[in-house]
Amino acid sequence: MSANHDDHHQAPDGHGRALRLGIGGPVGSGKTALVAALCRSLGPSMRLGVVTNDIYTTEDADFLRRAGVIDADRILAVQTGCCPHTAIRDDIAANLDAVETLEERFGPLDLVIVESGGDNLTATFSRGLADRQIFVLDVSGGDKVPRKGGPGVTAADLLVVNKTDLAPMVGADLTVMSRDAAKVRDGKPVLFTSIREDKGAHSVAEWVVGIVDAWHHQHAHTV
């Protein structure tokens, strides 16, 4: 199984629609904070939509709405029936429905972010749902996590290691994390962030701008 979407030419209906970016990772690693940060950084220049996959009701969607970083109507919440990974990998119907609803209501959009419910290291997005994906870890999970790998860590288009501000407190060695991640990711990018200190997650936002530009270039709107 690979989450690397180098063969996205096969993805259906790529033309005239927004890039779909999946953001996954374990519970508490900062996925929702990253989505909020990206909305802050990219909102002024991009037409955005957000789909959240909550474990309980609409917790993450509510957080984003309260944060006021994006028009509340542009956030849709999907419920996952105890199985967050099922909703982004094995049965993506509800998520596709939400993504297309946003595109119909507010389109054309530049970027639709799909945030997964917090899950384990094996959870990745189906390529039928996400064109690209980011996997978010945090340093407090321990600096061994990148070495352990798993499809999220090894195959995501971008690995984000968040909460670097906590590294000294939890005894996490960022050099070790960086070295191990590079080893298992075969050259794909890794970014270290502290979203608490950098509310716009600027390095990640810059990466996203790059993939959105490339997507537009490749799938120029024909409508």
């Binding site: 105890c82 094995d90 049965d91 993506i92 509800a94 429905d97």
Partner: protein, 227 residues
């Protein structure tokens, strides 16, 4: 001809059509203490099959028959028959959501006039049993196979949800499902005795407890399942 295989695919909980997020009232029944273990669950499933299961199966059978010679106006009428048989607004919403996702998925698996015309007739989502029957027709099923698939999923969804929510022994729960085999046949039989064009006489069994659970569920703060 290919109806058996199609029926299995449609009844499989792995069909990627959003069904995994629905508990058929089981989540709320667990929350309020109506399902606490295998005995309660067995009663819940039996009751659900005899009420909502039969209604669902009959609508699916009628839709499967209509799918052989579809017309938008007739889809709207059958969908209205389904609407009239689901008294809880929460259940109506859940049914339409599942129907919309099922049509989205099955149109790609079995491209057909039956599903295209249903999607055009009820663009916001036909009721789930109507969509299931249309998909069954598109896939080459007979009405009885559509009824069986509908009745079957009406009990497997809450059974699976109860396993997840209560940590019940999954083998024991499958035994409960196996015990329902005669009741499942009866439900499919009852669903298929209706004559074509007499939709007003389709079964309309009420299940007030399920209606109340669905309405309460919508107002419960912490929910894992959509319904």
């Amino acid at each position: 001809m290919h109806g058996d295989m199609a029926m299995l695919l449609l009844a499989d909980s792995r069909l990627p059509a959003g069904g995994h997020a629905h508990s058929g009232g089981a989540e709320e029944a667990v929350r309020v203490g109506a399902i606490t273990g295998p005995e309660d669950l067995a009663r819940f499933l039996r009751g659900r099959l005899a009420t909502a299961g039969v209604v669902t199966a009959a609508l699916a059978a009628a839709a499967c028959e209509l799918g052989a010679d579809p017309a938008q106006e007739r889809w709207r009428r059958l969908d209205a028959e389904a609407d009239a048989r689901i008294s809880s607004p929460a259940q109506r919403d859940a049914s339409r959501t599942q129907g919309r996702l099922l049509v989205r998925t099955t149109r790609r698996i079995w491209p057909s006039e039956a599903l295209d015309s249903l999607a055009a007739a009820v663009p916001d989502g036909a009721h789930h049993p109507v969509a299931l029957g249309a998909a069954a027709a598109a896939a080459g099923c007979e009405p009885r196979q559509a009824a069986l698939a509908a009745a079957y999923t009406s009990v497997t969804a809450p059974a699976t949800a109860a396993v997840r929510l209560l940590g019940l022994d999954p083998v024991l729960v499958h035994r409960l499902l196996a015990d329902l085999a005669p009741a499942l046949n009866d439900a499919a039989h009852e669903a298929c005795v209706i004559q074509a064009d007499d939709w007003s006489s389709l079964p309309a069994h009420a299940a007030p407890a399920l209606d109340l659970l669905a309405e309460q569920h919508l107002r419960t703060e912490v929910r894992l399942f959509v319904s």
